[in-house]
Symmetry: C2
């Protein structure tokens, strides 16, 4: 049988089996959902409480049992059928989002970041091999190029996270978690990712983007109109590429930062 | 050409064109992402601020410019390079999640709800036609069955939201938004959805699940181990079926409720 026959038969068989284009367009989202529901999810978010490590310039959160403003009596399951909590905290608490307006006068606030930036291809860069020589190594452009040699070019529109394993101290050793310098990004790498690779957002495990308190990388990326996620976890459980990140936050009106939720869908 | 030949040729053509099963498994998530990124997203979340309507038994949120705990001086872009906010608020503020533990002694808290319950098929039931006769109509089992006659059976594992258009008062007329009775669910409908249709979670536009303050439906569903989303918006912009909801919340340790983010991906 000639190749032409094979092709013709294949087209015919496909056209007999495939639904009409309209129905197909309606069903492709259902198919995408089925694919996603069959995958493993990894939480990239720390659970936070009043004892969670926080940047030294902010205070600890306070959690108080919610009470009736009229008589200050706390609600209880026994007397009221419900219970809940009053929170007193800085926005930059636990795993959180920093929107451009956190560092930029005219930058967009949390409620203005497009929903389409909340589901993205996830790239994980691994700083841990370099930390064996220098435990405060800042991930460099050379490190990034070595990564690309192995895994291919970082795709436009990605979310790029930096694994440093600092997250392992968050619950076990909160004082050590807050130590400076941070294991974090080199300024040139952040600049390269946004300017040369067109990434949408970045994230890391530490309380700051930069290894020092110069805040150079954070200022740069927020002033360029990008958001970042700080204090991420479980990046050691996600492959270098191929995963998808879902990353969202409550819609605080004119919000300058707030706890976020990030998780990975594994390939 | 016989049907056997067509089939054989199709299988051959497909096997020549298709990638190996492994590569295919790795690529199907990328395909799902491409489908999703091509769709329209609709935010189902209100932006919240200090003036946002809240249940009468809780107080308004307070937003304060964040300051250095050492000298109480507020951080400014000019002097510090950044600015942010201290929040003082009840968890059940704005569009929010109620986890089982909000009403149930042994119920799971916000941080324990599985990630897999955060991306679900979205069904939207429309109460507004019934409100033309009775503006406080509670969506009944008969209404639900009429919906199923038209759109088919509600699928197991869905998130079911109730459209009432109350959300339109949230910003424009906050006092009216808080009026009782709420436009909401009939208890029998909530029971039917969870027991007969196996849905995972429900949501609505009002501050409460029930039309009255008996809290019957809310108590039932939270004690059954389900979560709910309150104070949703834009349900008038989502079709009755075929959309997907992405619904997440920050990971408050032992959290009893907190602002959430919900959005729909349209088919």
């Amino acid at each position: 049988m000639s190749r032409h026959w094979i092709l013709a038969a294949a087209v015919l068989a496909f056209s007999l089996a495939a639904p009409a284009p309209e129905a197909q367009a309606q069903n492709d989202l259902a198919q995408a959902l089925r694919i996603i529901q069959g995958k493993r999810f990894v939480d990239l978010t720390h659970a936070f409480g009043p004892d969670t490590p926080v940047w030294s310039g902010f205070g600890q959160a306070k959690f108080t049992p919610a009470y009736d403003p009229k008589d200050k009596r706390a609600y209880t399951l026994k007397d009221d059928g419900f219970r809940t909590t009053y929170y007193d905290m800085v926005g930059q608490y636990g795993t959180h989002v920093d929107p451009p307006a956190h560092f930029a006068e005219g930058g967009i606030t949390m409620d203005e970041i497009p929903l389409k930036q909340m589901i993205l291809p996830l790239i994980v860069l691994d700083n841990t091999p370099y930390q064996q020589k220098d435990e405060n190594h800042a991930f460099s452009v050379a490190d990034l190029k070595a990564w690309e040699q192995k895994h291919g070019r970082i795709p436009r529109g990605a979310f790029v996270a930096l694994r440093t394993d600092m997250s392992k101290d968050f619950d076990k050793n909160p004082e050590h978690f807050k130590r400076a310098p941070f294991r974090a990004w080199a300024f040139e790498t952040i600049k390269f990712l946004y300017e040369q690779r067109g990434v949408i957002a970045t994230g890391h495990e530490s309380l700051d983007t930069d290894t020092t308190d110069k805040m150079e990388s954070e200022t740069y990326l927020l002033q360029k109109g990008h958001y970042q996620i700080e204090v991420m976890t479980n990046l050691d459980k996600v492959p270098p590429k191929g995963a998808v990140i879902v990353v969202t936050w409550p819609k605080v009106k004119k919000g300058l930062g707030f706890p976020a939720r990030a998780f990975a869908i594994l390939p």
